[in-house]
């Protein structure tokens, strides 16, 4: 008898654990989803911190529409299947708006769910052009320019400014890197002004890259356009420079990161990378970074300013539209301008941010300098 009741109780208890705690309350629910653990955590954690700083600031001023804002952070480790889980979870808990996700793949996976439930989703970092250009996701916005804009900038710079004729396009076989590389190759081929002498993918985490580097040398490329993130970029650049090759290295915003310079050290000198327009003089930017330093003790990481701006934009839209309804918020995002660290922005009818663009930077004397 005892065995039976104890087993029954165990089963009941387990079932009970599975019933989510009902959330009561008059608060604004802001979902923040992204990679908060795993190897891409350094891309997702700064966004959570950005949201926390913004929400703290806004709550201290009375909140949005008189209600406090509550952050629900969900971790998807940049994995699509986890992203759908987190999306479902947020929906179940009745989230109002979502700031996220971080990686394009995860965002794509989750967007379908948010779309069905009419939840506005704004990403600070998902740059896949499809997300806004395909028209499939009318609920999606972002505070970062899409990949084809970056690739366009890189190619134009290479052709018109540097007047290059032979270019090798390399990528890291990932969604982001390969996407960029494909665009770059397409633009180069269409222009007819330069030859794509090599188009290769390297395996991130491989034991060594000397074979590819030697292949680059053999192809006699004047420059490498690389799509990918800074760890592989620094390995490539170091390898290239150690072999005494002067190949120009042009890359994307995954590489325009101070960490790249710190890791590649002297080999980083002269590397070009596209990145969001320089906003370091903007007083909001200065304050945001200072706040981060004060609360967390170090400099903010990737996409911090984008996430900060996204949170501001979302909460501002709720405030201005006076409601948390989908159509009202969407309207407000498209019509109202909002002051953010990235500048004064609003959103176009596809979801891209108007007023957020890319510039080309170069590493000079150990830091990135905008190339005019």
């Amino acid at each position: 008898m005892l065995k039976f009741t104890s087993k029954a109780l165990t089963v009941l208890f387990v079932l009970f654990l599975m019933v989510p705690v009902l959330h009561a309350g008059e608060t604004i629910h802001l979902g923040v989803a992204g990679a908060h653990s795993g190897d891409l955590a350094s891309y997702g954690i700064p966004s959570v911190r950005a949201a926390e700083l913004v929400v703290e600031m806004i709550n201290s001023r009375g909140g949005v529409l008189g209600k406090k804002v509550e952050i629900w952070a969900e971790d998807d480790a940049c994995k699509p299947e986890l992203a759908t889980n987190t999306a479902t979870r947020l929906i179940s808990k009745d989230v109002h708006v979502v700031m996220g996700h971080i990686c394009s793949g995860a965002t794509k996976a989750a967007l379908g769910i948010y779309k069905d439930m009419n939840i506005i989703t704004m990403s600070p970092s998902a740059t896949n052009p499809d997300l806004t250009q395909s028209g499939n996701y009318p609920n999606f916005f972002r505070t970062i320019a899409s990949d084809d804009a970056q690739a366009r900038l890189e190619v134009d710079f290479a052709l018109n400014k540097l007047k290059l004729k032979k270019i090798a396009v390399i990528h890291d076989k990932g969604d982001y890197g390969k996407g960029l590389a494909e665009f770059a190759r397409m633009f180069l081929q269409k222009s007819g002004k330069a030859e794509v002498v090599l188009y290769e993918g390297i395996t991130p985490g491989a034991v060594d890259y000397s074979a590819v580097i030697r292949k680059i040398k053999r192809s006699k490329a004047e420059a490498v356009i690389y799509g990918g993130y800074h760890p592989e970029a620094s390995k490539l650049v170091s390898g290239i420079r150690k072999k005494r090759m002067n190949t120009i290295f042009i890359s994307d915003d995954g590489v325009k990161d101070d960490t790249f310079i710190k890791v590649a050290k002297k080999y980083a000198e002269g590397v070009y990378a596209t990145g969001p327009k320089d906003v370091s003089k903007n007083p909001m930017t200065i304050k945001a970074i200072a706040d981060h330093k004060k609360k967390y003790g170090d400099d903010p990481g990737a996409f911090f300013l984008n996430a900060y701006s996204a949170t501001l934009a979302l909460l501002n839209a709720i405030e201005k539209s006076g409601s948390t309804k989908y159509t009202k918020i969407k309207n407000a995002l498209q019509k109202e301008y909002v002051e953010t660290p990235l500048g004064k922005i609003r959103f176009d009818n596809r979801g891209d941010a108007v007023g957020v663009g890319f510039s080309m930077y170069q590493v000079k004397n150990g830091s990135y300098v905008e190339v005019k």
């Binding site: 034991v207 060594d208 074979a211 800074h230 170091s238 960490t259």
Partner: protein, 310 residues
């Protein structure tokens, strides 16, 4: 000129790819030796071995970080980091065996395998949480040698060091296995555990020694490759581990020269595949090669059964 410019270039290119291949192959070989030795003695695929390699690299990073901060540089840092990394990796390997594998010595074959996979996940996350998930730059500890200055666009100092170290290690290991008492005892344990016990060999000690040596080799590989590439992170063990394991099987698991041969073959295949075809599919080539070789020679290139032959 008897030979045309481009012919010379092609030869040079081939030679460069060859060099890349054996550099890579040496790293695979060093790690593969650990796999093959452990397999030879307890018939276990030690999935956590790649993590030992990674830990070796991290320990070296920590040591060299501290030393450079206090003003030391150059070769003294390199050797100290190497020695400390080897010591610690061996300790980790030893502990790993005691916790996760020894209790399962009499268990069904698959249980230690799952335990190994679990330890692999555990160690990866342990380092990630205790240290950082970022890529950490690794100081280039190998100074540039003057005599290489002329051809260093072909071959750099790290590559030379890797090759020389691998050769030295190979010779030392062969000597150990073939001509010392301990080597004999290890071979005996690998051949037949019960008999070895009966003739008075302490098999627990032998197994521990195997793990220690294997881990030491992995640590050496870790430090070398970290100096060469310049960056490490907690995940490098996984990929290197799978590749090295493939190399060990390719050569014939349980066979020491097999591990070296397998490593070289794998490294060369990848290098030539990248150089002449496309680096997109270099891994597909590597695994495809494995399948082909195993179809033709089901026990690997020079593998016999599970004994540790030299």
């Amino acid at each position: 000129m008897i030979l045309s410019e481009s012919f010379y270039e092609s030869i040079l290119y081939f030679f460069e790819l060859f060099l890349s291949g054996i550099t890579r192959g040496s790293i695979y070989a060093l790690i593969a030796l650990g796999y093959t030795m452990v397999y030879g003695i307890i018939e276990l695929i030690n999935f956590a071995h790649g993590e030992i390699y990674m830990i070796g690299a991290f320990i070296a990073l920590i040591v060299s970080g501290i030393m450079t901060m206090y003003g030391y540089a150059g070769l003294s840092v390199f050797f100290t980091a190497m020695i400390v990394a080897v010591l610690y990796s061996s300790a980790y390997g030893f502990t790993l065996e005691k916790i996760a594998y020894k209790p399962l010595r009499n268990a069904p074959r698959l249980s230690p395998l799952i335990s190994a996979i679990g330890m692999s996940i555990f160690l990866q996350n342990y380092v990630m949480l205790a240290q950082t998930s970022d890529f950490m730059p690794f100081p280039s500890l190998i100074p540039d040698f003057e005599f290489l200055a002329l051809i260093d666009y072909i071959i750099g100092a790290p590559e030379v060091v890797i090759l020389i170290t691998t050769v030295i290690v190979m010779i030392a290991l062969t000597f150990l296995i073939k001509y010392t008492r301990i080597g004999k005892a290890m071979r005996a344990t690998a051949q037949d555990k019960k008999m070895a016990m009966l003739v008075g060999i302490d098999i627990n000690k032998m197994i521990s020694i195997t793990f220690i040596i294997g881990s030491a080799l992995a640590a050496i590989a870790g430090v070398l490759i970290a100096s060469h590439i310049g960056q490490i992170n907690f995940y490098i063990g996984f990929i290197a581990g799978i590749k090295a394991f493939t190399a060990a099987v390719l050569g014939g698991i349980g066979s020491i020269p097999g591990a070296v041969l397998g490593g070289m073959v794998l490294g060369l295949t990848e290098s030539f595949a990248t150089g002449y075809v496309s680096s997109d599919y270099e891994d597909v080539f590597a695994f495809g090669l494995l399948v082909l070789i195993l179809i033709v020679r089901p026990s690997g290139l020079i593998g016999k059964t599970t004994t540790q032959k030299v």
